[in-house]
Symmetry: C2
Subunit: 427 residues, 2 copies
């Protein structure tokens, strides 16, 4: 690829670090095996995408020149004022009317999906060599951001209600003693129906984690933020909502809240958002200006109209029902076909079941189980991909993420049956 008369790559350190994301070869495998049932993709359910609803909303927007022009013109970098207001209001309502200042529209930044918010926040807080503390396991595309930007990480094991707080404290203490606490910029939690584990962090744990971070700030010499990724919050079909960390009145100015309309409404519309404290709000808005001046107005108007008309809420209720049904199909199939030694939990929301095999049974890409499954035309996300490169432990390699998001009920049944056979043979 390089020219013979030149010796060095022209690429930046960032580009040289950036690896092909795992999602790419998972998608390639799906294409290379046309009969494969993919329980790997984090796609949203195709049948439930709001085609008719979107048509109605777009007809409403584009049947008037005034609103049509507004949707086709540049907007402001932070986002459409109406969408920012609705967003702040809705998060506050979900949080049971937490302190109003925290949910001010001024603190909202609208982005091209919450992924872009995660990217820009990380750009604004972390230099290469800095450190983010995260869950073990965690959202693997966030790991790609860290890897690309040369950011270190430490993983905190998950319990049924979120991270192990004593482990977090021990980690912060160890980092203080080694002097590395000065590198720690944030704790990243996927706090609702976590990708990949399905676990929801309790409000109590978020508050205690914030208190711990606040204590260790003194050692760090700078604020340490909690980046709460609430991507799956609205995809709840069982149990009650936990308030977000924004509602923790002692430390709301240390919370960065990332949300999205992609998964609850339409991933092809790619609208996400952040609720951010200063100085992060100003910094991210400026950097967003350099990225793209602001999120496509057409998409923002679509979401604002969906929220305002109540259509968003009605669609969400249908979606929750649909995912509940698909989750039930997966649960039923797993009960029927998986060997008893495999542990898993009944999901209460989100898109995933996290299956844990006995530790000796490897599930990684090169494992016999993964390769046999592929031969039998079923694909899952190997658990090892969901663990960051924390040098203080080796990556667990005996788990699998199973998604009931993209596959049909029929495909879920077939996929789990195939996988069950592979597992029964292997275990």
């Amino acid at each position: 690829m390089r020219n013979s008369n030149t010796k060095k790559t022209p690429l930046s350190a960032l580009a040289q670090r950036t690896e092909e994301p795992p999602i790419s070869w998972l998608m390639k495998m799906t294409l290379d095996h046309p009969k494969v049932v993919s329980l790997a993709a984090g796609f949203t359910d195709n049948q439930s995408l709001p085609v008719q609803e979107t048509l109605e909303l777009l007809e409403e927007i584009f049947s008037s020149r005034k609103t049509g022009q507004a949707a086709l013109q540049y907007g402001s970098t932070a986002g459409d004022p109406c969408l920012r207001r609705l967003t702040a209001h809705d998060v506050q309502a979900l949080d049971n009317n937490g302190a109003p200042g925290v949910y001010s529209a001024d603190r909202v930044l609208i982005t091209h999906g919450s992924q872009q918010l995660l990217y820009i926040v990380t750009e604004c807080l972390c230099d290469p060599g800095d450190m983010v503390i995260l869950e073990d396991p965690t959202y693997f595309v966030y790991l790609s951001i860290l890897q690309s930007r040369g950011i270190q990480c430490r993983g905190i094991p998950l319990q049924q209600d979120g991270i192990d707080l004593s482990w977090l404290e021990r980690t912060l203490d160890t980092l203080t003693r080694s002097g590395e606490i000065k590198k720690v910029k944030m704790l990243y939690l996927v706090s609702y129906f976590q990708n990949p584990s399905g676990i929801t962090t309790s409000f109590h744990k978020k508050g205690t984690a914030l208190d711990l971070l606040r204590f260790y700030e003194k050692k760090a010499g700078h604020p340490i933020y909690l980046l709460e990724d609430a991507a799956y919050r609205e995809l709840r079909f069982d149990g009650d909502d936990e308030a977000s960390a924004l509602a923790a009145v002692d430390n709301p100015d240390r919370v960065i809240y990332a949300g999205t309309y992609s998964k609850p409404f339409a991933s092809g519309a790619r609208v996400g958002f952040g609720l951010l404290p200063e100085p992060i709000a100003t910094a991210t808005r400026r950097v967003k200006g350099n990225h793209d001046f602001g999120t496509a107005n057409l998409l923002q108007q679509l979401l604002a109209h969906a929220l305002e008309s109540g259509l968003y809420e009605r669609h969400l209720a249908e979606l929750q029902e649909r995912y509940a049904a698909k989750a039930a199909v997966m649960v039923e199939a797993i009960r029927q076909h998986f060997p008893e030694e495999v542990l898993w939990d009944v999901p209460k929301g989100g898109l995933y079941v996290w299956a844990r095999l006995p530790a000796k049974n490897k599930t990684g890409v090169r494992s016999k189980i993964f390769q046999t499954a592929l031969k039998k035309d079923v694909l899952y996300v190997p658990g090892e991909l969901c663990y960051g490169p924390d040098p203080t432990r080796s990556k667990p390699n005996h788990e699998m993420r199973l998604s009931f998001g993209g596959a049909t009920e029929e495909q879920i049944r077939i996929g789990i049956e195939r996988l069950g056979k592979v597992l029964k043979k292997a275990l």
Copy 2:
């Protein structure tokens, strides 16, 4: 903003460097002076936004469940295959059928506006401390990217047909002698109806510039790219199209071509693209994956349908006529109202007239002219904002960018008349 018990900012070096973009306070001034006629904004013409056309296209897409679902689902990171193919084909057609391999759909990356492409390319090529050579003056939001990312620059004066090549050679030679050539990663040219000068670079100059870069690559030890920003290429209403640098058969693998559908179709739809050589194509696709997994499918489907149906082309022809008329209004008003000492050129495309005052007459934000103009309710972009921080020269401060994009014909007439009075008094 910082907590009392912490001493250091938590922000990254990038965030600390990132300043409020000039566009923000220009917009704020417009809001603070509600009667102001803004000849500053680079907005596209509101009346000509394709409201009816967009409605037709969206009704076509969303009246079928199949195409509707596709528009609302995730796509691939590089972009919709159909839109990538159409894009490659159209650029090739504009270039009069240059070498096919160069215009392969595989080399196309679809982005949220061409701004995002510029951002990601710069991320992938430049480390802090690296250097980009650019035009004097140049696109000021690109300067914000460089400033934010800690990248140095050198400016090359513009002549009627593009940069002064002997100045470029002298600059490259000086940088070679100082050893700084190793920092030089690219030459950035806004090659059609340049923002802000309106100048179009001749194909001949692009080819010679590429040859020069190729020669100095040996001194640099790595490839030096030409980043050709063709944002205004299709907004031509007079003269012939010049081929892009991709058509320079000797060095097409050193050309990064950035294009957009935002300005020719709808800025609220924010679809741009790059045509990229390896290893840049792979690196930018990976980084785009970390930014947002790919451009919103809804917007991509809208553009693909517009291009395929011929509606894009029909709309573009109307738009060119409209901008030609608005440019004529501005030209006529300038002839009538500006003092003779002010130099300017009749635009053949784009959105701008670049007015040059005698060097002693300052136009910057703090100048009497700018402040008086603001008092008289007319706003322009001060020329000084369009010059990068090149330490080898001081920034010229006697020019103004006047846009006929966003203002109505009536506003253009009034705005230029007001500005003419201010100038006549000042000169």
